[in-house]
Amino acid sequence: MLMPIPDAAVISRRAEIAAALRRRLPRGTVIDRAAGLSAFESDGLTAYRQQPLIAVLPADRDEVSAVLAYCADEGIKIVPRGAGTSLSGGALPLADGITLGLARLNRILDIDLVNRTVTVEPGVTNLAISAAVRELGFYYAPDPSSQVACTIGGNVAENAGGVHCLKYGLTTNNILGLEVALLGGERIRLGGKALDAPGLDLMGVIAGSEGLLGVVTEVTVRILRTPETARALLAGFAKVEDAARCVADIIAAGIIPAGMEMMDRPAIHAAEAYVGAGYPLDAEALLIIEVDGPAAEVSVAATRIEDVARVCGATSLRASRDETERLAFWAGRKAAFPAVGRITPDYYCMDGTIPRGRLPEVLAGIRALSERFGLGVANVFHAGDGNLHPLILYDANAPGELERAEEFGSEILRLCVRVGGVLTGEHGVGVEKRDLMDEVFGPDDLAHQQRLKCAFDAGGLLNPGKVFPTLHRCAELGRLHVHAGKLPHPDIERF
């Protein structure tokens, strides 16, 4: 993985830059000693490590603006960071860049039950939002598995998902308003408690922009009424194909479950050994299907799902009888990643999305790749929306295995793209999938995305080296070519 070549001139100014930031910020906000900086050297994608030039931990939005104003004036790169749980290296530091940590902006500012909104600072964790309104009978729907730790600001930047996206959408579908600090420090307000503000949907493009457009300083989310009832069903299948057909048939029956998760045999065994959730060990594939809502609807839907599962040849079928059992069904799935972590020194989590109908074919393809690369794989995924999470098992201490795991991962993503899918469903492009963007997008597709970037950050100071495989100068992108398709970039910088 190549990153932009660090600017030696900026690195040589470290002490001066740190001093300048200290003049602008309260004591204890600026970190420039190696011991302190090592805490920031990677995010959830631990294969890549880099100490930042300086880390800055502002405590309020004015301090965030002060940092952005200084960096814009001095031409210094910035890597925004929430809790550092990104699985795609979105918060990977730069040797010549400032890591801007937002975790100290962690206040809940407003709970508005009549409008059903909660307004928070970006460092509030995902789960803390739900916790703040749970007693009142509400919750915040997107639930990435890192929700205990990950921050809402990071969720917005990555457009984070979770197991309930099929019914409730991703982060972008659950936010109503943002305050964003632009490069230069100025802050803008987008959206709000009234729906569908006129004007370009800048809130919609900030969501999922991976910290390349601005720094989120406040988020207003929509909260939902806690469903009256939730029930989970566990259905085991002797063949992956049967489970895949069951997923499609449930949707064809007009049911949108709150979540529909699939695990393959290695994942089932790892999870069962870890938490003893009562999963069927003889199954090749296991579905966890949850329906929620008014009790009367849930009861009808659960019965129909059981019928569909039987028709599809389920070899085992259990419906949760109470909340304890429902949570037990989920315990294995929620612990699947650490459970797999127990059976392998390291694992590498992928995130492609495919059309659901291609599931059997893609799983067969992954098995074939597993043999070719000589590395095991366990599959845990959001079957309802076709979002795969193959976990590639490897040993980072074995020479060459990391590289092999990465190449295996890239081949899986290419397979996803070939069947009409995409590189990432919810983890983001970051550095991890950056160099695969050409597999999905042509030069003009990427050029238009970068023209959006140019409107926000023409100097390319916000999180450079992420998302885009190629650096274009905004001046070059701005040049008008009357004839389509003739946009050569002979002088572009490639990493």
């Binding site: 632009l182 803008i188 569908d196 009424r225 999905v440 701005g478």
Partner: protein, 414 residues
């Protein structure tokens, strides 16, 4: 003199048409089926880019919950194909062309205007359902974004940028969108005689409980009288409506429970057939006053629901307009007769009253001269306006797409 009309019938043809216009400096008014051409300010264009030749469903897999269609495909064609598979567009876009005396709309127009109906607060807006686009920017270059899967964060969400941009950045030639199963049954509870304050409180209460409502509207007596549903038309007083959708038996059970909880007013109940008929009227704006032929300005006002009753009361008092509500009060359609307050004054009043609550007012329909003199989409803050102009300049540097007055972006600039 009638404007020249460019009617591409392929995506390549669309690109060539825009590239040709760019080379000639021809400014284009972009239309799908032309149903909403009266929306916004009058466009100062040299030619019409007519997308009605780009028509047809190009991909539909009910099991994937995904459909893809060329932008000029009539909305009615999309809806019919979905209905045949017991699916629908959950954001419930309407056929609003009758407000301007035009016909049915296109799927591209629905997304370009981010047009959503009564289910919007509960199921999301049009923009939330747009998964992918193939478009041609004002640079005459074709580009694609998104994909055919329902969960995707690969690259910027360009669909969000184009949804609601009114064709000012790029012309969408093909759209890919999420579709969902349609509920097998629905019921609507009607509450009679509530004033806006009491009605919006009742709608909030219904939304607060575990009933999972999917529609929440309020009509004054004279708007109710325009309905084709007898229970509503014959009410002779205000009507508050709450929709529940789901499985046949379950909906009846939920409906009984909710009726019991809403003991604030006399109630009635619409079953599936009448309920669908009524919400289609709400979706299409069929009950909005006054009917065609009466000179009036029509405003679309969005508000935080908590403030809706007080803001709307003040607006109605100061403008003399008539309004009806959807979205639990979060959306109001306000009609002001031309013999009442003039539109420029009304705009000032509306913008002042809605801004206090963080709401918005868009001039949805008015005479050409009125639309030329009023910021149709409202003003934006300077920084947001400048940012929007930079995006516009990067996507349409020569300003050939729906020039100037139609763009919400241009409003801030003027």
């Amino acid at each position: 003199m009638a404007l020249q009309r460019l009617v591409p019938d392929t995506l390549d043809g669309l690109r060539d048409a825009v590239a040709g216009a760019l080379a000639d400096g021809t400014r284009l008014a972009v239309e799908g089926q032309g149903s909403k051409r009266g929306l916004g300010r009058p466009v100062a264009a040299d030619a019409i880019l007519d997308l009605s030749g780009l028509s047809g469903i190009t991909y539909y897999e009910p099991g994937e919950l995904v459909m893809e269609a060329l932008a000029g495909t009539p909305l009615a064609v999309i809806e019919a194909e979905l209905a045949a598979n017991n699916q629908h567009l959950a954001f419930e876009p309407g056929e609003v062309g009758h407000l301007w005396g035009t016909g049915g709309g296109s799927i591209g127009g629905v997304f370009a205007c981010n047009l959503s109906g009564p289910r919007r607060p509960f199921a999301g807006a049009a923009r939330d359902h747009l998964l992918g686009v193939a478009a041609v920017s004002g640079r005459g270059e074709a580009f694609s974004a998104g994909g055919r899967v329902v969960k995707n964060v690969t690259g910027y969400d360009m669909g969000k940028l184009l949804a609601g941009s009114f064709g000012t950045l790029a012309v969408m030639g093909r759209v890919t969108f999420k579709v969902l199963p349609r509920a097998e049954a629905e019921r609507t509870i009607l509450l009679f005689g509530l004033e806006p304050g009491g009605a919006i409180a009742a709608l909030a209460k219904a939304g607060f409980g575990p009933w999972d409502i999917s529609g929440a509207a309020w009509l004054p007596a004279n708007a109710a009288a325009r309905s084709a549903v007898a229970y509503i038309a014959g009410a002779g007083e205000t009507v508050t409506a709450i929709r529940l959708e789901g499985a046949r038996g379950a909906v009846a059970e939920r409906c009984a429970a909710l009726r019991g909880a809403l003991s604030v007013a006399p109630t009635e109940e619409l079953h599936t057939h009448n309920s669908r008929k009524f919400w289609a009227e709400m979706r299409d704006g069929s009950l909005i006053a006054p009917a065609q032929g009466v000179a009036s300005s029509l405003w679309r006002v969005t508000l935080p629901t908590a403030d809706a009753a007080s803001v709307l009361a003040a607006v109605a008092r100061r403008t003399g307009g008539e309004f009806l509500c959807d979205w639990q009060g979060g959306l109001a359609w306000l009609a002001i007769n031309d013999d009442g307050m003039n539109a420029v004054e009304a705009a000032t009043v509306l913008r002042a009253e809605t801004a206090i609550a963080g709401g918005h007012a868009v001039l949805w329909r008015a005479a050409d001269d009125v639309r030329s003199n009023v910021p149709v989409f409202g003003e934006q803050g300077d920084t947001v306006a400048r940012l929007s102009q930079r995006i516009k300049a990067n996507f349409d540097p020569a300003g050939i797409l729906n020039p100037g007055p139609m763009a919400p972006v241009a409003d801030g600039a003027s």
